[in-house]
């Protein structure tokens, strides 16, 4: 009998390991740490935020000196702009939802705050309603096809945000909705606000009318650089891509990617999972050079 188990185990160990396993694992580790870094940030922010909120409103409004002093402290300066207004967890038979809802505050522009905050709230509620309907449907289908209710692993939805740049002039943050069923899918919503005008930035604002070509050139050049230096990286476009890789899809450059401004004053575009690369590459990001004379790269203290 030992023999049959040895044979069975040998067959199991003969399952071939694909070449891209280690690249997939590395990409997953990167994505995972990014998500957990966000989570840790709000845990820390939660405590500081609580203390800060207690005395903030009073102090900021009463003494300009204090407001000016606070703006110089990076962490507190950020808290004064984007704060978590609602954090909650919903856990029932078919879903596990964790929400950290951001809102804009202390920008000195109430109309802008109201507009953005209403938009964020409406968007999140709509997304969660859809996710709930899908979770219900999945669970019912699962039970109807003979699965036991106790064995169903709830659909997992996490709403979170990440501040990319926050200074006197620009505020840039990403709102992310991550839904995990058999696959994880993260939907990003970027908010890039010029605080001096109260307007949301657009790619043509930043790069000029030929912005699509600028992005395309920069992304293709960077893809070639990455695929040459690291053969584990793979994209559907670029000179290393197989010709038929994009046959089935629309030109990925015909739609505008999400973007944000980072704390180094750079413009970064983010492509959705599967848009320009296989799923294991996650959501690839690219720095796009800003035109000569752009003041976006000027960092205010």
């Amino acid at each position: 009998m030992h023999e049959s188990w040895e044979q069975a185990k040998a067959r199991y160990e003969e399952i071939p390991i694909p070449e891209e396993l280690s690249a997939t694992v590395q990409a997953a580790l990167r994505t995972g740490s990014r998500q957990s870094a966000r989570r840790r940030r709000w845990l820390r922010g939660g405590l500081a935020g609580l203390a800060a909120c207690l005395c903030f409103c009073v102090l900021v409004n009463s003494t300009p000196a204090f407001a000016a002093a606070v703006a110089d402290i990076p962490v507190l300066g950020m808290l004064a702009r984007v704060v978590s207004v609602e954090q909650y967890v919903v856990h029932d038979a078919y879903q596990y939802i964790q929400v950290d809802l951001p809102a804009l505050e202390n920008t000195g522009n109430t109309a802008l705050e109201q507009r953005i905050n209403t938009e964020i709230r409406t968007r999140i509620h709509q997304v969660l309603d859809e996710a709930e309907a899908r979770a219900k449907e999945t669970q019912e289908a699962y039970v109807a096809t003979g699965g036991s209710e106790a064995d169903f692993i709830p659909v997992d939805v996490t709403v979170d945000y990440e501040i990319k740049r926050s200074d006197e002039r620009y505020l840039s943050f990403l709102l992310s909705v991550c839904e995990v069923r058999a696959n994880a899918y993260t939907q990003l919503y970027a908010y890039n606000i010029d605080l001096t005008t109260g307007r949301q930035l657009s790619l043509p604002d930043l790069l000029g009318p030929d912005y699509r070509k600028t992005i395309r050139d920069a992304v293709l050049a960077e893809i070639d650089r990455r695929t040459q230096s690291d053969p584990d990286q793979m994209y559907f476009v670029g000179s290393a891509a197989e010709e038929n890789d994009t046959d089935w899809a629309d030109d990925p450059f015909s739609a505008d990617p999400q973007f944000y401004l980072n704390s180094d004053g750079q413009l970064v575009v983010v492509y959705e999972k599967y848009a320009i690369a296989p799923g294991y590459m996650g959501q690839p990001e690219f720095v796009i050079p800003l035109p000569e004379g752009s003041d976006v790269s000027d960092l205010t203290p």
Partner: protein
């Protein structure tokens, strides 16, 4: 928060070191290379984003395998509802009971239910202790034992051999 990075480093190190084991286990459920890669990827993302819930670093193995097994079963169930007709095995259930056909042990394991398959794979292919299997599958030790013996009996029936050397 001082200890948090070490938990995460420990977890990342553990994942990198055992990635091939994870892949084989995932593959044994989903039977498809790309799907198995997806399962490994999603398990890692999920594990890292929940790293704070790993209270006891000594349990990193069972804690991670629990996520991996859940992801594998979820994926397997979802996709098994969608198998195209021409991929379905041509055999009928009746053939399994054909006394003349002696099933290979490895193929016989595939005929067990998911919970039984999990226990057999963890016990014999990943060489886990019964207590570890209990932690991974979230059931108590006695349930693991009785499911294991029940699975071995079924395997014996199917292969006409005595598999009982757990």
């Amino acid at each position: 928060m001082v200890h948090a990075p070490t938990t995460r480093e420990l977890l990342s190190g553990y994942i990198v070191e055992h990635q091939e084991d994870f892949y084989r286990l995932a593959y044994s459920y989903v039977k498809n290379r790309d799907a198995a890669l997806d399962v490994v990827q999603e398990s890692i993302v999920r594990a890292l984003s929940r790293a704070d819930s790993l209270r006891d670093p000594d349990r990193v193995k069972t804690w991670f395998y629990r996520i991996l097994v859940n992801e594998s079963i979820n994926h397997f169930r979802r996709s098994s509802r969608l198998v195209p007709l021409d991929v379905l095995p041509a055999e009928t259930p009746g053939e399994a009971r054909d006394d003349a056909a002696r099933l290979d042990l490895y193929d016989a394991i595939e005929r067990l239910n998911t919970a039984e398959q999990t226990i057999i794979r963890l016990r014999f292919f990943q060489d886990m202790k019964l207590e570890e299997i209990a932690q991974v599958t979230g059931v108590n030790l006695n349930t693991v034992k009785s499911r294991l013996y029940q699975s071995l009996r079924k395997l014996k029936e199917m292969t006409k051999e005595d598999c009982n050397d757990a």
